[in-house]
């Protein structure tokens, strides 16, 4: 015989499923896209005080075309222009899934989930025999154009995930000098969030300490526990890049 608590929970979950299975019966890809868009919104929130946010390059019906893969030409997709509210010509672009070529070596290319670029960056598009058999253009932005790259992971954090983000920091941010990492990380007068790792899962105490230590020693943010702490990230202690880097 089923105990009362178990039966009550089963009743409630049955009722929930009957009402909402059409909403949650989605592909893994849609779930991942939803999380990334949540990070995209959170990042935009961080610019609301300093910039006017203007979606650009919408399609004919006024929809935002989200680039989902580095094989697409970024010029054909939408982005958000970040225009300083103070009198300045500074303007940036928040884009998604843009392949970045590292200043360290031309053959080092990675595609962060979200990236803030200087405006009017060139996207390349020349053919490379080692890419798609030389039949399609290789779209790539030089890392000199990168202000900050950000990654989104819905899963629970683990030490190797946190440390691997330092690879993104190193290879796509020419301004980063690992010998003086603490100097950059102590700055907080700029408009841009330091390169940030957005993580959905909650952290254990040791991982939280590790995330804090990495943020202390490197110009990065480890924004953990978004599923539990919530999406209002502006209440958290966050690193910003010094304005001199802008």
């Amino acid at each position: 015989m089923t105990e009362a608590w178990v039966a009550a929970v089963e009743d409630r979950i049955q009722d929930f499923a009957a009402r909402f299975s059409a909403v949650y019966s989605v592909s893994e890809r849609e779930v991942a896209a939803s999380f990334e868009i949540g990070c995209f919104h959170a990042l935009l929130d961080s610019y609301e005080d300093s910039c006017d946010l203007a979606p650009q390059n919408l399609n004919k019906t006024g929809e935002y075309r989200y680039l989902t893969t580095p094989s697409g030409n970024p010029a054909n997709f939408s982005f958000v222009a970040l225009r300083r509210k103070v009198a300045t010509t500074a303007e940036y672009e928040l884009r998604q899934q843009v392949r970045i070529r590292s200043h360290i070596h031309d053959d080092i290319m990675v595609t962060p989930d979200l990236v803030v670029l200087r405006t009017n960056s060139a996207f390349g598009g020349s053919r490379d025999a080692d890419y798609a058999g030389g039949k399609r253009g290789l779209f790539v932005v030089n890392s000199a154009q990168v202000i900050a790259a950000h990654e989104c992971k819905s899963l629970p954090p683990f030490p190797e995930l946190l440390v691997s983000f330092l690879g993104i920091l190193e290879v796509v941010h020419p301004w980063f000098d690992h010998l003086h990492a603490d100097l950059v990380s102590n700055a907080s007068d700029g408009i841009h969030l330091a390169p940030s790792l957005f993580v959905g899962g909650a952290s254990r105490a040791l991982q939280s300490r590790m995330a804090d230590a990495l943020r202390e020693r490197f110009p990065v943010n480890m924004i953990l526990g978004l599923h539990s702490v919530g999406w209002d990230i502006m209440g958290r202690p966050l690193r910003r890049l010094p304005s001199a880097l802008n």
Binding site: E10, A17, E28, A33, Y64, G201, W231
Partner: protein, 147 residues
């Protein structure tokens, strides 16, 4: 009536169903290991009335929240945004994030949390990363030590 695991599992797409089964399975194995090694926290939870059947339900709800509910809620958080609301986001060929979608996702999340709270489960148990953490929080909560 099917159990909670089966009810939730049956409504998922094949790829998410597999992840759900894997995560619930891993949490179940962790619970069995804790049992085999006479884990003090697990004993305390059982003494507080949390049978393996109940713990299995918590693992299913925890996994469903982390794999499905929370990520879907991510893009539907705030009403009145421009992007994803008045300006729909078209993601690839098929996915569309707009006001209608956000509204239905918010309703789903609210109803799920209502169901969870009615069962006295609490959000902290849904966000535990592992079965061991879940049992740890459960015991702290039931002993009145969780702030």
């Amino acid at each position: 009536m099917p159990n909670v695991f089966e009810i939730l599992r049956s409504g998922l797409s094949p790829d998410l169903r597999q992840k759900f089964e894997d995560r619930v399975g891993a949490m179940g194995r962790e619970l069995r290991y804790m049992d085999e090694t006479d884990n003090a926290q697990l004993k305390a939870a059982i003494d507080l009335g949390w049978s393996f059947e109940r713990l299995g339900i918590l693992c299913a709800l925890n996994s469903f929240f982390q794999l499905v509910i929370a990520p879907l809620a991510s893009s539907a958080g705030t009403q009145g945004r421009t992007l994803g609301d008045t300006v729909p986001i078209i993601h690839g060929e098929k996915l569309r994030f707009d006001r209608a979608r956000a509204t239905s996702v918010r309703a789903m999340v609210a109803y799920f949390m209502l169901s969870i709270n009615a069962a006295g489960i609490g959000e902290r148990l849904l966000t535990a990363s592992h079965a061991g953490d879940l049992v740890f929080y459960l015991v702290l909560r039931d002993e009145g030590l969780l702030g």
